[in-house]
């Protein structure tokens, strides 16, 4: 079977299948989960059994159910962040490349300063002042993440904006917005797509990390990073409870990365090349 005109490698297949499973899981959680989201079924950290395949969490809720709802939440938030970050980054990046002049200088300098401190520290500063609610989280991380997208989009735009057909569109008298939408964007989709996968992974890990620190998505919402934190004490009794949600995060990010790795290896080859990997 071929995808995008290429045959996926074994590892890419693994990634594709797992990602598809996660998407289905996130879409149909309420029908797939064995128990309601916050029902107390057993005791604290029950061993895995036929009734509860992964055991129970710190207050006796079914671990598998919580992981399903948690994945849904974390995936949704990470997707929202990445989409918003791409919207901001692409628009400003292309604008910077097409318009140039002081707009370009201003935006590039601002991004340089923002990138000169680590994103996590920046996010902590903002969350410390605003407090941690889901809209604040999404907006903060999206703005921070858009700096990376901005750099890529600007670089891509710079290469495209000097080409003849863009010049022709300009001479025809088309507006900046039209040029960005109709001339630049269609020719920059492929690299932006694999970047979307990478940024999604990064944001997924970022939000999980923040929730693990207790500063991300707050209870009563189930989310994977928060679940690791809540169940962390079990590790001192040699129980596996925090490992399950952490492994779920790892499984999804590894899978997305495998797909992206394959997409990048296609792009790296000259167009039309059909080399088998």
């Amino acid at each position: 079977m071929k995808l995008f005109g290429h045959k996926p490698t074994t590892s890419a297949w693994f990634g594709l299948v797992v990602v598809t499973l996660f998407v289905c899981l996130a879409l149909f959680t309420p029908w797939l989960a064995p128990y309601p989201e916050s029902a107390n079924i057993g005791g604290t950290w029950d061993e895995p059994s036929v009734k509860m395949l992964l055991g129970s969490d710190q207050i006796g809720r079914d671990m598998l159910t919580r992981i399903m709802y948690g994945s849904r939440m974390t995936i949704a938030v990470a997707l929202a962040i990445t989409s918003l970050s791409f919207l901001i980054g692409i628009v400003l990046g292309f604008l910077s490349a097409v318009v140039g002049g002081w707009v370009d200088v201003l935006l590039t300098r601002l991004v340089d300063v923002m990138l000169s401190i680590p994103g996590l520290i920046f996010a902590l500063i903002i969350l410390g002042v605003f407090g941690s609610s889901i809209p604040v989280l999404i907006l903060t991380i999206a703005v921070l993440d858009s700096t990376r997208v901005f750099r890529l989009a600007r670089a891509l735009g710079m290469n495209l904006t000097v080409l003849e057909y863009v010049e022709a569109a300009r001479l025809r008298g088309e507006g900046t917005w039209w040029i960005i939408r109709r001339e630049i964007l269609p020719n920059a989709t492929a690299p932006l797509m694999s970047e979307f996968g990478l940024r999604f992974c990064f944001n997924f890990l970022f939000i999980a990390g923040l929730s693990f620190l207790g500063l991300g998505i707050q209870p009563p919402y189930a989310d994977l990073g928060g679940m690791v934190r809540e169940n962390a004490a079990a590790i001192n009794f040699g129980m596996m409870a925090p490992i399950y949600p952490a492994a779920t995060i790892a499984l999804l990010t590894v899978s997305v990365n495998l797909v992206v790795d394959w997409l990048l290896s296609i792009e790296a080859r000259p167009s039309g090349a059909q080399a088998e990997l």
Partner: protein, 315 residues
């Protein structure tokens, strides 16, 4: 070359200044102000007035920024809101702990990553290279705490070699400190080494595709010799940049690792301050982290200037 280095140093200072403005502005430009954001909507007007005074919010913001900056330059980071202690006294020992952990991890990670990176570049597309590609990809995609818990289960629960909590205190013997921080250091190593390895490999391979390397091969030199003698001097610059970037990441990555191992570092202090919404402490920690980050990057750029063979001679 000296001019380049001075320029880079000045740029570093300028960046730090810009960052300090940014940190300050982030805690200033809010809908409403810090006081109402922290105290919430239910705060009485009297409480708001008192709180604003306590934070010094009754003074114009540019003056406050000036006082804050001058204070920070004199080693006075202000007073914590929650426990009224001098922030410097809390930050300094914790910064020491964090840097100790980061240095420990760096000491293992750098030789390991650079060595293995060069090794897989030499064996490009062979089994070792493919294996390292997939293993590093996995290590990069794993969340920090997952690696940490796996290590705890293996080395602390099953084998009982190292403690699962890294307890350190002032005046602790160096040996004990090393044992206590081994697990967090290994976790950090795995995190940054994977990235460093990949970048080392790709920068060596990038140099390998240049004509002068082809020439060396045509002369009949062995692959290992070509890489070490011909390619490495020119691949050194990107490798140093990557190392610095990852060292800077180390200092930040510790935030989560410190939480897992309950290690009394700067990251823990900052996370605590964020959950208590203690703005002065957050600002101070942010500034210190930014300082470490910017200095490491500046240092790396200066090293790159120093090792670049093309900049050694005057034109």
């Amino acid at each position: 070359m000296a001019k380049l280095i001075v320029n880079r140093l000045l740029l570093g200072i300028l960046t730090l200044f810009a960052v300090s403005v940014l940190i300050f502005v982030c805690t200033e430009i809010l809908p409403g102000d810090v006081a109402s954001a922290v105290l919430g909507q239910g705060a009485t007007p009297e409480a708001l007035v008192i709180f604003r005074k306590e934070l010094g919010l009754d003074v114009p913001s540019y003056l406050r920024y000036w006082n804050w900056l001058v204070g920070a330059l004199h080693g006075n980071l202000g007073v914590a809101m929650t426990n009224k202690r001098l922030i410097v006294d809390e930050v300094m020992p914790r910064l020491g702990n964090t840097l100790f952990l980061a240095a420990y991890a760096a000491l293992i990670a750098i030789p390991l990553a650079v060595g293995l990176g060069i090794y897989s570049a030499i064996n490009e597309a062979k089994l070792a290279d493919k294996l390292s590609n997939i293993l590093t990809l996995i290590a990069i995609s794993f969340p920090e705490f997952f690696i940490a818990y796996l290590l705890i289960i293996a080395f602390s629960v099953t084998l009982d070699w190292f403690p699962s909590l890294a307890t350190v205190f002032p005046g602790m013997p160096f040996g004990d400190r090393v044992v206590q921080t081994t697990l967090p250091a290994i976790t950090l190593t795995l995190l940054v080494a994977a990235h460093m390895l990949r970048m080392t490999r790709s920068s060596v391979l990038a140099v390998m595709s240049t004509p002068y390397i082809e020439m060396a091969f045509l002369k009949g030199a062995k692959r290992g010799r070509v890489i070490v003698q011909h390619a490495l001097p020119n691949a050194a610059a990107p490798i140093i940049t990557v190392i610095a970037l990852n060292l800077a990441y180390l200092v930040v990555g510790v935030v989560v690792i410190e939480a897992v191992f309950v290690y009394p570092g700067l990251g823990q202090l900052m996370v605590d301050a964020v959950s208590k919404r203690d703005v002065p402490v957050i600002q101070a920690c942010g500034l210190v982290f930014a300082m470490v980050f910017v200095s490491l990057n500046t240092l790396a750029d200066i090293l790159v200037i120093l090792v670049n063979p093309r900049l050694r001679h005057k034109r």
